[in-house]
Every structure is written in C-alpha cells, then in structure tokens.
C-alpha cells in the first residue's frame, strides 16, 4: 500500500540554524532518502520551497482569485513529502519516525487513494 509521509515544520527553525547545522540537517535527509531507496519502498519524494513562495488560486462565484501565500497561515507548513510503498500502516509509521522531519516538525502519514479505487 502506498502512503504519503508529509512533513510539516516551522521553516524559521531551519533558517535560524548555522550553515554547518543546515548542512547536517540536509545530509540527514539525504541518508534517509538513500535508506528508503535501498529498501525498495520509495515511490516519490519532493522538497518544497518555503510557504512564502506559495501562490493560492481559486474560482469563487465564477471569478478567479489569486492570492499571495499558502492556503493555511499556520506556523508549521508543508515542507515536502515522501511516498512509500509498504505492506501496512505499521510499516509506514516505522518509516515516518525515522524521517528527520519527525524530530524538527511532524510527519503526517496518509494512505494514497489509488486511481479508480472506491
């Protein structure tokens, strides 16, 4: 089953770190990525730029609305995700807790809804 591991964290935490600490943090993600890959469970992964780079779009009563910033103005923002293919939720949680994001933010584990499935 596929699960998306979504990393929510406060981007100011990363910004306030020293370059060496940032380097170490990114290297931890690199190692995590490699471990997922070597285990054959990684389906996709993406790191997102900070939420201030976001633009939000919607159609309201037939009119388009384009706004600066993310949809939700929360301190913790979606910073990236991994999609893993594992046997069950227990296995997905085991991977989520290894994600460096679990230590500097939270990792939300959501099952992927396969195309065509009810």
């Amino acid at each position: 089953m596929e699960y998306m591991l979504m990393i929510f964290s406060d981007p100011t935490g990363f910004e306030s770190m020293s370059p060496a600490q940032q380097q170490e943090g990114l290297a931890a993600y690199g190692a995590y990525h490699q471990a997922l890959e070597k285990s054959g469970v990684l389906r996709a992964s993406t790191r997102l730029r900070p939420a201030q780079a976001a633009t939000t779009v919607r159609l309201k009563s037939g009119k388009t609305e384009v706004l600066n910033g993310p949809y939700a103005e929360t301190r913790e923002q979606l910073g990236g995700y991994f999609v893993v293919d594992v046997p069950d939720l227990d296995a997905a949680i085991a991977w989520a807790v290894r994600c460096p994001g679990a230590a500097h933010g939270v990792v939300e584990v959501r099952p992927v809804w396969p195309m065509g499935a009810a």
Binding site: E24, A28, Y32, A35, D90
Partner: protein
C-alpha cells in the same frame, strides 16, 4: 507481597517533577492490576473487569496525586468502582443489557472492603494469560501494559509505533480471544512452564526495549514504560524466585538501566557504551543485577536472558578493570547465536570479535550474516559495518554503510553522532 523494592527512579527530571504524583500514579497502577487480575480471573472477562474499574481508576489517577495515596488503595478503588456500578445499573434497569452489569456488580460485591486488603495476588496468572500462545505475539506486551498496569491504548500505541486506533482494535481483539477461547488465568504446570514463561519474559522485555528507546527520558510515557517493565520484572522474579530466566531478565534490564544517565553528555549528545564514563553508571543498580545473575546461575540451565545479562556484566567490569571483558563477550554471543539463531546476536558477536582479534576478523564475521533480510533495516548492523570498514581503511564502503545507518536511525542524537563519525572517517 511483591513490590517494587529495588525499583528506583533514576532519570533526572523524574526526580524533579513531583515525586509525590509519580508515587500516587504508581500505587494506582499496582492496585489496578491486582483488581483486574482478581476480577477477570473469576469471569475470564478482562474487558468487563476493566470497565468495572475504569472510572474508579481514572478518579484515583486524578485524586491521589493531590490528596495522597489512601491507606488501603485496593479497598478505595473497589468502593468507588462499586458505587459507580450501582449507579450504572440503576440507570440501565429498564434496558435489557442490565444483566451483564448485574453480574459485574455481583463480582464487585463479592469482595467487601474488609477483605480487599487480603485480595489474593493473581497477577501472575494474568501475565500468563496475556502471553498465551493463542494471543498474537505482537500484542502480548501491549496487553500486559494495559490490563496489568492500566495504560491507555494511545500511550501504548505511541511507545510501540502503532496508530492508536489500530492498537485499540488489537487490544480488544486479544481480550475477546481470552474470554472466548477460555484462556486460563493460571500458571502453567511444570511441563509447559518453560515455553510459556519465555513468552511472558519476551513481552516484558519488549516493553522495556520500547521504553529504553527514549534515552533522554524526555518522553514521560516512554520513561514510565521502562520503569514499569522493570517493575513487572521484579514482580515476576519475586513470584518465581527459582526461575533463572526470570532473574536473568531482571538482571539484564537493571544492567541496561544503570547506564541510562551515561548515554548522554551534558549537552545532550549521544555517548556510545565504549565511551561512557563508568562513574556515571548507577553502581547500586549494577550490584543488584550482579546479585540476581549469581542467583540465576545457581539454578543450572542457562537461557537467553541470563546470557544477555552476563554480556552486560562483562561490560560492567570496566568499572574496575578499565576494559570490558571482550573475550567473555564473544563467547557469550557465540552461545546466544547457537541458542537463538538471532542475527542481532550475530552482529554483536562480530563487534566482540573485532575487539578481540581486529577489525578484519570482525568484518568476516559480519559478512557471514549478509543476506539475512532481517538486518536490512537494522541500524546497528549498518553502524557496526561502517565502523569496521572504516577501521579496515575502506573509506568508500564505510561512507555508504554510514549513510544507510543514518537513514535508518530515528533518534536525532544518535543520528548526529553517526553523522559526526562519518565525517571524521571522510576527513582521514
């Protein structure tokens, strides 16, 4: 009666944060388990016993820390539980389901307050029921923590890395199984004892291992778990004083627990066993473990937990000898490998081999394990491999193995330690 005599709270914050509150919580959990065991042993209905006590237990957890532990905790819980039951039955009198409540009421009424202090301790039977072969191995430890100590499903789920809803379902299924299959609340006869005791010990150790994985004791739930597992170990060792493996398990947990503080430096950084300052180990706790191990050895047959405790003992000699007894450690892991066939024992054996005969010999021992799928996601295997490769001068392969170890580690402090090790190797 069995109690947590020897059980000490060693984490720094536990000593600071309201020891009275912790004492009250501990007392409530002890009484709770005894009453659940007593009630459920008569009906086989663990969930029913828990329901009957649930509100009283919740009230105790809220009130005792403030007002102090009552003189007779068991009687206090029973009185409150009975009062709540009477209310519930009154409310439900018009409903058909009252019958079930009446039977529980009868159970509660069977024990009056005067005899409450003399409730027979049937927790051992309850432990054996929880670890029955008919119960899924993965839910045995969670089940014990819930029915013997009263931890809620959400707390247990966090410790065992399972979704709370899933954990709740697994626990109810297990309780239904106990009732429906008629699993007895009894200590098995001599013949079946050895095998069944093994499942009880495994479950207690699983609870300890989950608690242990929170080294800083930052997470109160997990810190509790390690302490509670040790308490269960004390309970078991006192109820089965002649079982070498029960004593061995307790010795193992105490040895590991004695080093709890030493696993972090003042800045919170991870300190591996080999670099820990023995002065920071808890000496009385080690002494207690040593005494238990000696008593266990007098029994004759040696099992897994005695061997593992003996390994810890061979590490602890560093207190006096300045160096761990690696030759003994290698021999003990030889025996463990032969006994259990566990790849984890194999990894530890390879580390010992490297200490005795050098990194190359250790690597050869580690290579013999390649292909065991159980090691692919086992961080210590990759960390050991990385270290031995680095010591043999194979920097590239070491870097790869370090990457894998770092990617699999969930403790940020250990992750940072591994990253620093990897960087040091690359700088050579």
């Amino acid at each position: 009666m069995a109690n947590g005599c020897g059980l000490k709270i060693v984490t720094a914050d536990a000593a600071q944060v309201l020891p009275a509150a912790r004492a009250a919580e501990t007392a409530a959990r002890r009484s709770y388990g005894k009453l659940v065991a007593f009630l459920a042993a008569r009906t086989g209905d663990v969930a029913g016993a828990e329901d009957a006590l649930a509100e009283a237990f919740a009230t105790a957890l809220a009130e005792w820390p403030v007002r102090g532990v009552p003189h007779t905790p068991d009687a206090w819980l029973l009185t409150v539980a009975r009062r709540r039951r009477v209310d519930a039955v009154r409310q439900r009198r018009l409903q058909d389901s009252a019958a079930e409540h009446l039977s529980l009421l009868a159970e509660l009424a069977a024990v009056d307050e005067d005899t409450a202090t003399a409730i027979p301790d049937q927790r051992l039977g309850l432990l054996f029921a929880c670890a029955h072969p008919g119960i899924d191995a993965g839910v045995r430890a969670p089940l014990m923590l819930q029915v013997v100590l009263g931890f809620d499903a959400a707390t247990i789920a966090s410790a065992f890395l399972v979704a709370p809803a899933t954990m709740g379902q697994r626990l109810s299924r297990a309780k239904a199984k106990i009732r429906q299959a008629g699993i007895a609340f009894a200590v098995p006869e001599r013949e079946a004892m050895r095998e069944r005791l093994g499942t009880v010990l495994d479950a207690i150790y699983a609870a300890y291992a989950e608690g242990w994985s929170d080294p800083q004791g930052a997470d109160a739930r997990r810190r509790n778990l390690a302490d509670e597992a040790i308490w269960l170990g004390h309970l078991l060792a006192s109820l089965l004083p002649d079982e070498g493996e029960a004593l061995g398990l307790l010795a193992l947990m105490l040895h590991a627990h004695a080093r709890r503080e030493a696993r972090r430096d003042a800045a919170g950084a991870y300190v591996p066993l080999a670099e820990q300052d023995p002065a920071r180990w808890d000496a009385p706790m080690i002494d207690e473990a040593e005494a238990l191990l000696e008593r266990a050895g007098a029994g004759g047959e040696v099992g897994r937990f005695q061997l593992e405790a003996a390994v810890q003992s061979a590490h602890a000699v560093r207190r006096h000898a300045g160096r761990a007894d690696w030759a003994a450690i290698e021999q003990l892991y030889d025996a463990l490998c032969a006994l259990t066939g566990s790849p984890v024992a194999g990894v530890n054996r390879a580390i010992a081999v490297a200490e005795v005969r050098g990194a190359a010999a250790g690597l050869t021992a580690l290579d013999a394990l390649v292909g065991d799928e159980r090691l692919a996601l086992y961080q210590p295997y990759w960390a050991a491999r990385a270290d031995l490769l680095a010591r043999s001068g194979d920097v590239r392969a070491a870097r790869d193995a370090y990457e894998q170890a770092i990617g699999l580690e969930r403790d940020p402090a250990v992750r940072r330690f591994l990253q620093q090790r990897a960087a040091a190797v690359l700088a050579l």
